[in-house]
Symmetry: C2
Subunit: 430 residues, 2 copies
Amino acid sequence: MNSETQTRLRHAVDDLFERQTEFLSELVAFPSTRGQEQAAQDFMARAFEERGLATDHWTIDIDDIRGMPGFSPVVGDYEDAVNVVGAHRARSGKGRSLILNGHMDVVPEGPHDMWDTPPYEPRLDDGWMYGRGAGDMKAGLASNLFALDALRACGLAPAADVFVQSVVEEECTGNGALACLQRGYRADAALIPEPFAESLVMAQVGVMWFQVHLRGLPTHVAYAGSGSNAIEAALPLIAALHEMEARWNADQAKPAHYDHVHHPLNLNVGKIQGGDWTSSVPAWCVFDVRMGLYPGQDMAAARADIEATLNNAARQSDFLRNNMPEITYNGFMAEGYALADDTGETARQAIATLEQAHGAITGQALDKVAITATTDARFFGLYADTPALVYGPRAEAIHGFNERVDLESMRRVTQATALFIANWCGVEPV
Amino acid sequence: MNSETQTRLRHAVDDLFERQTEFLSELVAFPSTRGQEQAAQDFMARAFEERGLATDHWTIDIDDIRGMPGFSPVVGDYEDAVNVVGAHRARSGKGRSLILNGHMDVVPEGPHDMWDTPPYEPRLDDGWMYGRGAGDMKAGLASNLFALDALRACGLAPAADVFVQSVVEEECTGNGALACLQRGYRADAALIPEPFAESLVMAQVGVMWFQVHLRGLPTHVAYAGSGSNAIEAALPLIAALHEMEARWNADQAKPAHYDHVHHPLNLNVGKIQGGDWTSSVPAWCVFDVRMGLYPGQDMAAARADIEATLNNAARQSDFLRNNMPEITYNGFMAEGYALADDTGETARQAIATLEQAHGAITGQALDKVAITATTDARFFGLYADTPALVYGPRAEAIHGFNERVDLESMRRVTQATALFIANWCGVEPV
């Protein structure tokens, strides 16, 4: 690509940027928490169709993916889980194909009174757009689409197939991205503009979700101290899990990618519920835990360690010994993934192409990071031999209150993405 | 009352006992948890009307009782809170009047799979009736009514006014019994057949319910340890409350009535809820606590101690110091009550009359106990100068699974109640 094309693409993103910002605002206005993404996915499908992309809009069938590597267990069916893919089919097919992936599901916004303004009424202030999902990752979805728009505005189309994916389930299982694999979408590389501040993610942790169910024999509180209280029985188990967390984070346990990360594997007690009546000793308690894992860490061994930790702690308690916790898995069973470990030529070229695009737009070298979260990149990298580049805009307070995305950062990422597409896929006339 | 009348009353209870057991079974079949008592109260009202009692069936108006001593704070209104009173008005009025009180509300049954048989499908086995509320306290409601039936079957009626009360809200505030006071129901004594195994309750604790609300600043778990986790922030507060509990239960703090009770004041974390998403550091957590108080213990001082305990513990935590807990009161604000402290002549006579009735039926002396729970007795004793006798059948697992009541014990209590009514109120021909 010559520098004139580069400049034209950059300006095309600028010219479209007001529309891109409006598009993002429309996306953020959908309260697309898990199970509630259908309207947002319909909106996305219309956007694909308006652009002439061949649009595939389907409900995930759990039986289609259950046996695949990387599948995460879920409770219930997927009647409410809808993926959308828009396919650009190149006439020449001379370039390298590409998947542009993003997820539509957002995490719950929490109590609205802790937001300065309502989470699904996007607001612009001082260069930021506020709203649940603005950063994680609707700005990325907008960036993917408007990077292609910029090419079209320049009279160009990718010279290889490009699949624009808007998936669900990224925040709990990744089964949405997995269903895209199952449906046959493959390409030479994947780009996922998750909000990691214009850095390239070289390693991501795995994530496991588990639930601990405690049951007890309740009585009227008049006849019981705290010994058989299913809520308080959770406390030593949580403490034991934190000891395990410390063990996993010890220096000698860290792989090289995480050498310089202080505490890569976070354990989070994310939800708890227990008891039915204030004056009854609670008969039940269930808490939900998220635990990180290193790339390469064996999942079965990790599960065994978690279960042994909980069971050993339970055996220390007179109450729990006779009411052993039940451990269930409903959500992430996600391996870690390190793009850095992909020594193939395709990965090398993809990274170099992104470095070039990033440099051309920002004038800076591309930062490379190891992150303490997971993304859908693992499906492409681990199960489809496809290097997956996680590279997206700067955002703050993702999963928190007053989540926001830096709009100038989204602009730069869109520009870099347009250049990346043009260089990776090559171009042909529209 | 001569011994022939005594024998006839006793036999009358026996003759009616199959019907009484059926009546109890019908009562237990109503899932009359708080807010769901209307159908059961309608059933009770019909039972009063069939017996010719003047039936008063009303919805509690919170504004009528809010300013009264003994009122407990509640969230929301009382549109679903219905009391029923059936009044027997004596022709002669020569005897001492009586309130026969019981409550229709039951505590939640908890997970059904922890019951051997469904909680609202009463089951008879080996002399026990199983079901939520069978003991606490539908057997008492049945006993009150069938004791009066036994008199009628003998051609007798109480020679003083008797008010049979079926109230709600006993398990959370006592505002149902309070509303009966407000409506003007007064008598010389009250009898409440709560399930304390045919003992007479001489002292009962007070109970306070409070909620602790914790808020935090959540983030994606990738960026946070447990420091700002609103669920885990609850743990040191719960520990501090148990230290307070130990202080209140120390020997030097115990009043005489509780000298021989090992641990009179139980603190119970009865409910907890927090967090919205397993991979988000939870932004909120709320837990519900029940704490006992001694008769005579100052309520305002107790509240101040609870709040200081929570606030001091919160100030130890970097996170909580900037996110101080909010403490709210929604439920019991119940003082302790000791019948033993009522040195009046009426109380002395009421206790003696019950002792005599109990002895005649059981051949045993009446056990006198201090209990670690509260009952509605406090309203009569503390706020209406009316000695309140808590005396009811033996039950097990109240507030637990497989709650059950001893039917022979209910029979004896019904017989003793019939004798008590006849002796306390005197009798006149029907």
